[in-house]
Symmetry: C2
Subunit: 258 residues, 2 copies
């Protein structure tokens, strides 16, 4: 019995999210179809994160077990030949029998991309959150500091989740700005933590955007966290701007340079 860890990239635009659902086009569903074919047996994969419809991944991780003939070193090439053009396997490697993409994960990094542009930019509609008002980046950076650490992030969780322990630790939350042209700026939010609640990164982003728009003061973040009330936090930023960047399988320390 082999246990294999896949590192996967996908463009979430045309998927109803990661998780397999009958009748819908999902990332898990497409990958399982291909692996089932290659392995000549029903394969089920376990993803580290169940990304929503429209959310992208640069580095999703998933494991699957099976007793099949195809050598592990051939899986990447063989699967990529069969996969649709919006999924790409970056690597496939054999791991210990008790390794599990979800339960063995120690942390994750997400990236959220905002495009500041005066005129609508149709080419970025599925890949960025388009904002046409100037954002106060310094205020947003100041607000980031309040999120770092271990908190009950219930205020930053959408309803529809049955999670009861809503304490998570954020190790790192950074904002960087790249000028793309005279009229366009890319604002990148990168967040690393031991885990994230349902829609947590998108609600943190929406809240940071409201700080940037001066609707929320940076120092109010702590009150919002403490309120544990979803209605105190900002709006939920669109799915298309969110990228699952990396899954970590070794211990991370707060402030570690990752």
């Amino acid at each position: 019995m082999k246990n294999v860890l896949l590192k996967i990239q996908y463009d979430g635009t045309l998927f109803s999210g990661w998780q397999k659902q009958p009748e819908l086009r999902t990332v898990q569903g497409e990958i399982e179809k291909v692996l089932t074919k290659l392995c000549c047996q029903t394969i089920e994969i376990n993803g580290a994160s169940r990304t929503d419809a429209g959310v992208h991944a640069y580095g999703q991780a998933a494991t699957f077990k099976g007793d099949y003939a195809i050598p592990v070193e051939n899986i990447k090439k063989a699967a990529n030949n069969l996969l649709p053009e919006d999924i790409y396997i970056l690597s496939a490697e054999e791991v210990d029998d008790d390794f599990h993409a979800r339960f063995s994960s120690k942390g994750k990094t997400y990236e959220y991309k905002i495009l500041y542009t005066k005129e609508k930019d149709i080419f970025s509609r599925n890949y960025y959150y388009n904002i046409c008002k100037e954002l106060d980046i310094e205020a947003m950076k100041k607000a980031c500091g309040y999120f770092i650490g271990s908190h009950d992030f219930r205020a930053f969780m959408s309803s529809g989740s049955n999670v009861t322990d809503t304490v998570r630790e954020i190790y790192d939350l950074n904002i960087s700005v790249k000028k793309k042209s005279a009229k366009k700026k890319e604002i990148l939010i990168e967040v690393t933590g031991n885990g994230f609640l349902y829609n947590m990164v998108r609600i943190i982003t929406g809240t940071l955007v409201e700080v940037g728009l001066k609707k929320i003061k940076p120092e109010e973040i702590l009150n919002i966290i403490e309120s544990k009330n979803r209605y105190m936090a900002g709006h939920i930023a669109p799915a298309g701007g969110l990228y699952l960047k990396e899954i970590y399988f070794s211990d991370l320390q707060k402030g570690e340079n990752i």
Copy 2:
């Protein structure tokens, strides 16, 4: 009777090209539907260029005539509110009665985007020509020089066109390289001319790529042009990398800084 010039941006990915065709989703078809609604009368628009399926536009131009109530200065906003999210009107302005987007055009600039990347990049699949082999950029730049000027470009025209005069003038053909990351480079080909034959920019690009791959020598370009034989030129580069950048309505001179 008003005559209005539109400047239009579109993401060609989900369109069967510019030109209206029954049962198919086309850019012209979508815009005409919206203008017909806004103007309360059947509107037909004339585009400067009939881009193919998958080809994008930063600056397509189109004109339409009609005797309608909506003020010209309101068209941009009203149309953008109704248009699908992959089309955007950049401007709408009244022009002289005899002005026609296609017949009044003096030249066009196209941009072709190549992404050099060792690993497949799924996010660029509809917007770049992905090439994983190193290209000899200096050789490609040298080859560009041979295209400049007035030539019979029959060798660079796909079959299926009923054009008989195949002489066109290329004013400018440039290649620039932008580093995107450690493993990725963007190679931009910009070409300006008085007009282009069917698929001409994509076949020029394919030929330049073959120069970059050392399959064709730069100095062979002149022989290829003189052969007037499609089979002497290189392959046709994919539609998704091509962008109609600008339409010019005043005279352009060779070497002019445009």
